[in-house]
């Protein structure tokens, strides 16, 4: 970080020109008279934060930036400077402990980073220097070095590909470690450079480093023997990223353009912003309260002290004279130091160790998620992944779940279902024995039972075969699973005993999107097999088993804004064709309108069935047109600035006036138990919103299949379609609709309480909105009532059980999440997604969950928790989240409680010692109380407690509602715990006070002193506080037993030990044999027993009287309610379509 900043300062010159110039192989170029070797950072990757030298100061600085640590440091310093009642050790030791533990943890983590850095930095690479191959350490690479990388090696820095061992000037890489996409991506050498790298004389001009993995703009000047330099454009296809791995290519040569911390990979590893949980916010609120208590206590005591001292003879009786120094200091300064002393005396009320315990609980507790075998998916051989342990308890507080559809609710395992050519529906039937395995179904749309013309059919299939970026997996590759098997079968069906090239039998496809594979496979079933792309030539095996060759001229890549992609190919006959496929909404406006209607019906019907549809169009390009396009594209690609925009403009220009051929339908199956999971979440009172980029119809049917919408759900639609209303402007219509829906859902709805109470009511609302309308709602800035719209919209949404947002751009997803997150009551949001397009919403939500799906690892990397399947969300929230929340909430409340009743007697003692800041307890007890005597039981509790068993939590989703809205950390429970603490403190102190009205408590008539008083109170305190926890523990594992009884035993042992020795390092042997003498007194025993019992009495009573009584009663009650509520809708008749849909999904799973 700092490094980069420095670089920015020193490299200011580079900044100004906004691009960098690289001399390939550090060879001076004729164009530049003077060769100034430019300064770039070296190739060292520094992900570590500290070095050996700066670790201590830097780490300490970072730690003391935390408010709590800083507070304790201040207290410690006050103790050191001012004459305070407790020695600095009492607060210094815990602080030291906390700081040390944290420092060790962070140091260890940093050491691991150092190790990883070293592994990367010391990696041996081959550098070509003056025609020789030199082995170097990776960190020594400089910008401009020419490197050689062999197969299966990772690139040590960002390289421009100069030479490849493949003849066609390409190489394959996989970026699995960058974005998780395991397919092979093709990268191209810069033309004209591949012949001789050694003598290449060139400069590269490229943009300054930026983190976008998929963007790169640059150009290369190649100088040849004083000729005019040739200019080549460089794009992302020429750039090999650090971290990617070379595949299927023996070796490549490349020139380093970005090194070290300036590589795209390094720039992408920026730390995520810290998410804070509600519990942490509650802790801070409570801390504030306790700080107020602390300050007011100190103020009260200071005032009382001076009131008391004003009485004659009290301030300085003859037996207790002040020192000279005390007499001389200013009265007001004295008051101030007195105040500070009281603060120090009572500072234990704010528990230092709570932070440690909370951290430890979170850190250790998160292991249970990754250990859970129920999260293990045998398919990908992975379990859950915990990226942050700070949010465990947040999982128990979720109110809104935002889920992606594709890959999350659905499997993203595409299967070609049917297609439609010129309005004729084709459905593939496995069982049919028709000659070409290809038949026309007699769907209701087909008024004329006939196929489309053969030409159109073949054109359509060719389009499917050509318009994609699929690669053919080579036969040497491993891991051809079922896919290949299926293909073999299809092959066998088609080939009719003809000779098939052996390679074809083991054909597998790799693509970044599973849709494309499904389409290519679909085309294969109909007789057109894509054989692969070789040096810009696509080969297709057609129905008559002839190989057709097409020259691939341009690929107009897919992007989510255009929502379509195109290829321009030239057939053998010299025809130039453009094939385009994309979403209906992006294709229909660009084709001849008379063709649209025939297809639209099919598309909509398919979409209602829950299929993903794509439309296919083509266009003949005349040579003149092509030349224009070609030059346009080349020009745009060469542009250094705004390349994207320029390309987009050309794309849009080309993709017009096309002919629509047909549409395809691809099925995306539901995830296992998707419906059950969604139902459980809704049962838990969580509102589920589906945010998808998909079409409304498709998404809607998925929602029905997932039972997010039910038969009786009234759907409120706010989409482009509903906005089209004759005779009205869209804005007005939007206004009307919003008001109407608002009336329906908010004003006419029964008050919130009853709505929560009834579980599955007669009137559920489902809300559907699409991206275009949403941006109208959110961005209608020209209108005055912008605020109103947003508010209305939000209120409608919040009163619907499920909301479906379709046609969403990734950023809009995040916008929605943000909107809900910042709405009234700031509900806790959770986002689930599996793809790169979900990253924004995963980062935006309070909790981000990544599904380890097929769309790469982006989502998993940016998530807080990653799970293999959607169905795991149920256990993650209902069981783990619930338990974690209960555990940590109890932990927090208990910590405040135990410190309140720890310090209250000390406060009360001030009234009896002339407010002189005399501590009641010995320093050792003050120090050890939170560290040793009472910390372990609560830690064990907060790790192992299961107040309700996991099974029951999973069975009864409604239990989740009990802890909703931060129920255990609201002011009510806090007040209860505080009062309990006060009560205990009063009982401890005054119980012993009454006993000490006659301090002769031993049977030999000897009297007890003030340290005995403190020790008796402390003993009662430790036992009561521990037994109180024991009362709260509902789940006694052997660890709980060990820790609870162990820490009590330890207390006794320690007290004997501490009081049994004259400690040479102590000034005062205050506790010498105090504990033993206490135990020899029967009265002390008796008072300890009776006070402990008296303290616990209200607690026992509370537990007993609280209804329902115990988990079993609760279970009984819940089983009844679930039998009446949750079960019924499942059995009720759902629409036929949905039933088949979900039944299908359940048979799959």
């Amino acid at each position: 970080m700092l490094r980069r900043r420095l670089n920015r300062w020193f490299g200011g010159e580079d900044r100004r020109v906004d691009s960098r110039t690289i001399y390939v192989g550090h060879r001076p170029c004729p164009a530049n008279e003077v060769f100034i070797p430019p300064k770039f950072c070296d190739n060292r990757i520094v992900s570590s934060k500290y070095t050996v030298w700066n670790f201590l100061p830097k780490n300490l600085f970072e730690q003391f930036r935390r408010i709590a640590n800083f507070y304790f440091l201040i207290i410690f310093l006050v103790q050191v400077i001012v004459d305070t009642p407790t020695s600095p050790v009492t607060s210094g030791l815990p602080l030291f402990f906390v700081i040390t533990v944290t420092a060790i943890k962070q140091g260890y983590e940093d050491w691991l980073r150092h190790k990883a850095d070293n592994e990367v930095n010391k990696y041996r690479v081959t550098v070509l220097e003056d025609g020789r191959r030199i082995q170097k350490e990776s960190e020594k690479i400089k910008v401009g070095d020419v490197l050689e990388v062999d197969e299966d090696e990772t690139f040590p820095c960002d390289l421009i590909l100069l030479q490849s061992s493949r003849d066609d000037g390409t190489c394959f890489v996989t970026t699995a470690s960058l974005d998780g996409e395991s397919n092979h991506k093709t990268h191209y050498t810069v033309p004209d450079t591949e012949r001789d790298v050694e003598s290449l004389n060139a400069t590269i001009e490229c943009e300054q480093p930026q983190p976008d993995l998929y963007k790169f703009v640059g150009r290369m000047h190649i100088y040849k023997n004083n000729e005019e330099p040739t200019l080549r454009s460089l794009g992302p296809e020429n750039l090999l990223l650090k971290g990617a791995t070379l595949k299927n290519t023996q070796s490549i040569c490349g020139v380093a353009v970005y090194t070290g911390m300036e590589t795209k990979m390094a720039l992408n590893y920026q730390g995520k912003s810290q998410k804070r949980s509600v519990v942490e916010k509650s802790i801070n609120a409570f801390l504030l309260v306790y700080l107020c208590i602390l300050v007011s206590k100190a103020l009260v005591c200071t005032t009382l002290k001076y009131v008391w001292q004003s009485k004659p003879g009290q301030d300085e009786p003859w037996y207790n004279e002040k020192t000279l120094k005390e007499k001389e200091t200013n009265r007001y300064l004295n008051m101030f130091t007195d105040f500070l002393s009281f603060m120090v005396l009572f500072n234990f009320i704010i528990p230092v160790s709570m932070y440690v315990t909370v951290e430890m609980q979170k850190f250790l507790g998160s292991f249970f998620i990754s250990w859970d075998k129920d999260f293990f998916d045998s398919e990908i051989e992975e379990g859950a992944l915990v990226n942050t342990s700070d949010l465990n308890e947040e999982l128990g507080q979720v109110e809104y779940v935002f889920t992606d559809k594709t890959g999350t609710l659905t499997q993203n395992n595409m299967e070609f279902i049917e297609c439609c050519i010129d309005g004729h529906q084709y459905k593939y039937r496995d069982a049919s024995s028709e000659v070409d395995g290809f038949c026309v179904t007699d769907g209701p749309m087909n008024t004329v039972q006939q196929k489309a013309g053969r030409e159109r059919e073949e054109l359509f299939l060719r389009a499917l075969c050509l318009c994609h970026t699929v690669q053919v997996k080579e036969s040497t590759e491993q891991g051809q699973g079922q896919e290949d098997g299926r293909i073999d079968q299809v092959d066998g069906l088609m080939v009719d005993g003809q000779v098939v090239p052996p390679l074809q039998e083991q054909r597998g496809f790799i693509a970044s999107s599973p849709d494309e594979i499904a389409l290519v496979q679909g085309a294969m079933r109909y007789g057109f097999t894509f054989l692969g792309l070789e040096s810009k030539t696509m080969k297709i095996l057609n129905r008559t088993n002839d190989v057709e060759m097409y020259e691939l001229l341009h690929v107009l890549n897919f992007d989510p804004v255009r929502r379509r992609m195109s290829v321009i190919v030239r057939s053998i006959s010299g025809e130039t064709l453009l094939f385009c496929k994309g979403a209906d909404s992006s294709i229909f406006p660009r084709v001849k309108q008379e063709e649209v209607e025939k297809i639209r019906m099919h598309v909509e019907r398919n979409a209602t069935d829950g299929y993903r549809t794509l439309c296919v169009a083509y266009k003949h390009l005349t040579p003149e047109e092509y030349d224009q396009v070609d030059s346009g594209l080349r020009e745009a690609r060469l542009a250094l600035q705004d390349r994207e925009e320029k390309l987009m403009a050309v794309y849009n220009q080309v993709e017009t006036g096309m002919n629509l051929i047909g549409a395809t339908a691809v099925e995306d199956r539901l995830q296992e138990e998707a419906a059950e999971t969604m139902e459980a979440l809704q049962g838990a009172g969580i509102k589920v919103w589906v945010l998808t980029g998909d079409k409304m119809e498709t998404a809607k049917s998925t929602c029905y299949a997932c039972r997010l919408f039910k038969r009786n759900t009234e759907l409120l639609e706010l989409t482009v379609r509903t906005l089209e209303y004759p005779g009205k402007r869209r804005e007005d219509r939007l206004h009307d609709l919003l008001l109407e829906y608002h009336k329906k859902t908010v004003q006419d709805a029964p008050p919130a309480k009853t709505r929560v109470a009834r579980n599955w009511s007669s009137q559920d609302f489902g809300f559907i909105v699409d991206g275009a309308t949403l941006s109208m709602v959110l961005n209608s800035s020209s209108e005055n009532n912008l605020h109103d719209y947003k508010d209305l919209f939000l209120q409608i949404c919040q009163n619907c059980t499920s909301v479906l947002c379709c046609r969403m751009a990734p950023l809009q997803k995040a916008q929605i999440v943000k909107m809900v997150k910042n709405s009234k009551g700031s509900p806790i949001t959770l986002s689930v997604g599996d793809g790169a397009n979900d990253v924004s919403m995963i980062l935006e939500a309070h909790v981000g969950i990544g599904i380890k799906g097929k769309e790469g690892r982006q989502a998993v990397r940016n998530s807080d928790y990653a799970i293999p399947k959607l169905k795991h969300l149920k256990k993650l929230l209902l069981a783990h989240g619930h338990l974690y929340y209960v555990r940590i909430a109890h932990l927090v409340q208990y910590f405040f409680y135990k410190n309140l009743c720890f310090i209250l007697p000390q406060f009360l003692y001030q009234f009896f010692c002339g407010c002189s800041q005399q501590p009641l307890y010995d320093a050792a007890y003050l120090t050890m109380y939170n560290i040793c005597f009472t910390s372990m039981p609560i830690l064990a509790y907060s790790l192992f407690e299961q107040h309700i068993s996991i099974e029951m939590l999973l069975e009864n989703a409604t239990l989740y509602r009990q802890i909703g809205k931060n129920a255990m950390l609201r002011w009510g429970p806090f007040l209860y715990w505080t009062l309990l603490g006060v009560f205990h403190g009063l009982v401890f102190f005054f119980g012993v006070w009454f006993l000490f009205s006659n301090p002769a408590l031993q049977d030999n008539g000897q009297a007890f002193g003030n340290w005995s008083y403190g020790t008796i109170v402390f003993t009662i305190l430790v036992f009561t506080v521990t037994l109180k926890l024991a009362l709260d523990t509902r789940h006694w594992t052997w660890i709980n037993h060990f820790v609870i009884w162990g820490s009590l035993a330890f207390y006794v042992f320690f007290s004997f030990f501490w009081g049994g020795v004259i400690w040479p390092f102590l000034r005062q042997q205050r506790l010498y044999f105090v504990f033993a003498n206490m135990l020899s007194s029967v009265s002390a025993w008796l008072v300890i027993i009776v006070l402990i019992l008296l303290s616990l009495l209200p607690e026992i009573l509370y537990v007993v009287l609280r209804k329902p009584r115990g988990p079993y009663a609760r279970q009984k009650k819940l089983v009844q309610s679930s039998a009446g509520g949750i079960q019924s809708p499942r059995s009720s008749a759902r629409p036929l379509l949905m039933r088949t849909f979900s039944d299908e999904s359940s048979t799959v799973s």
């Binding site: 004659p312 003879g313 009786p317 003859w318 037996y319 207790n320 004279e321 020192t323 249970f368 250990w371 859970d372 075998k373 999260f375 293990f376 051989e381 009896f912 010692c913 002339g914 002189s916 800041q917 005399q918 299961q946 996991i950 119980g991 000490f996 006659n998 301090p999 002769a1000 408590l1001 049977d1003 030999n1004 008539g1005 000897q1006 009297a1007 003030n1010 005995s1012 009362l1031 509902r1034 052997w1038 660890i1039 709980n1040 004259i1062 000034r1067 005062q1068 042997q1069 010498y1072 044999f1073 007194s1081 029967v1082 009265s1083 008796l1086 008072v1087 009776v1090 008296l1094 009573l1101 007993v1104 009287l1105 009584r1109 988990p1111 009844q1120």
Partner: protein, 368 residues
């Protein structure tokens, strides 16, 4: 007390060993152990009215008799208390209290007469009590040097800073230093029995066994000086308010002189509250049937050295017998009786609630 159910989910735990052993651990599948799956066998106590009820009754039934026993015991303890501060003009020590100055060589002696109406059987413990004396004031509590008191020679001549302003007298360090030692209670109390024919006999007072054994034998030690205390303390000064140096506290008994003087040790154990009593002497029970202190008239002879009026303090003499629970204190008995009764009452209330609730519960179950 608690109804309990053992929730044994052990089957999972048992075959876990087998499954994890068969190379499953090679892939990343989590171990199927009871611990990692949060399935440790656990005892799950449930507190219900039904299970707590008997406990309440049992506690009540145990505590009430104990409480009564304690109360009776405490009541049987004989205690006599007399204030001899001399605040009012008619009290015998009025003059001594009023005319007190630090620098008198002639001690002021006064005599207080009192009557015991009941005989004190067994050993009688004689306490002095001080009121409004803040021995627990922080400045006071810390004003001592335990190293010095433990016989540490370096601390003897160079006491801890905590002892200020009673650390040095001029250039010579004070032994024992500090405010506590300086303010050692130095009234001398002598008790006489006045029998029916007005003959006065002194009651023998034992001054040993009044301090904690560990204090006397371990915590407090005289500095080494070949048995000669005067020599051991020769480089030190006596505390400012003391009449005589520490090695003359009990010149007759070397085992009770210097730092290990028991009166001194008792004083050094600072009291918890501003009103306190400290053990002064023990009156041993005589052999035979005669009570230790028969009823009748007594005479208390006070050498009045200790001023308390300047800070509105009070001085008392307390004569008390001691039971197994210590001195007279009705609090414990009352506390036990109260808590026992509360438990018992709660038990009754809970019983009623439990009874009613259960009836309601079963009837409510049917319609739902």
């Amino acid at each position: 007390m608690m109804a309990s159910s053992y929730n044994a989910k052990e089957e999972d735990g048992h075959h876990s060993g087998a499954s994890s052993g068969t190379g499953v651990s090679k892939n990343k599948k989590p171990d199927n152990t009871a611990f990692k799956q949060q399935r440790l066998p656990a005892w799950q106590p449930i507190l219900t009215a039904g299970s707590v009820l008997p406990a309440f009754f049992v506690i009540g039934l145990i505590f009430i008799p104990i409480g009564i026993g304690l109360y009776v015991t405490s009541n049987n303890i004989k205690e006599f208390e007399i204030d001899y501060t001399g605040v009012s003009s008619d009290s015998p020590c009025y003059n001594c209290a009023k005319n007190f100055t630090w620098n008198t060589t002639e001690p002021c002696v006064c005599t207080v007469n009192f009557t015991l109406h009941q005989p004190f059987e067994s050993n009688v413990f004689m306490y002095y009590g001080l009121s409004n004396f803040y021995q627990n004031h922080r400045r006071y509590v810390k004003s001592r040097d335990d190293r010095q008191l433990n016989g540490d020679l370096s601390a003897l001549t160079d006491p801890s800073k905590e002892c200020e302003p009673y650390r040095k007298s001029g250039d010579v360090s004070i032994a024992p230093c500090g405010a506590i030692a300086n303010s050692l209670f130095n009234d001398t109390l002598v008790l006489y029995y006045v029998d029916s024919n007005n003959s006065i006999s002194e009651i023998p007072l034992v001054k040993k066994g009044i301090a904690w054994w560990t204090d006397k034998h371990v915590k407090f030690r005289n500095p080494a000086g070949n048995g000669n205390l005067t020599l051991a303390f020769k480089d030190t000064a006596k505390p400012v308010n003391w009449a005589k140096p520490v090695y003359e506290l009990d010149p007759l008994d070397p085992e009770n002189n210097g730092f290990i003087n028991e009166d001194f040790i008792v004083w050094m154990r600072t009291a918890a509250l501003p009103t306190f009593r400290k053990l002064y002497r023990i009156i041993q029970k005589k052999s035979g049937a005669t009570p230790t202190l028969p009823n009748g008239n007594y005479m208390l002879n006070i050498t009045y050295n200790y001023p308390v009026l300047s800070f509105d303090g009070r001085k008392r003499l307390i004569l008390s017998t001691i039971s197994w629970m210590g001195g007279k204190n009705p609090f414990l008995g009352i506390a036990y009786i109260t808590v026992g009764s509360i438990c018992f009452c709660l038990g009754v209330v809970l019983l009623i609630i439990h009874h009613k609730y259960d009836n309601r519960n079963t009837s409510a179950d049917i319609p739902s």
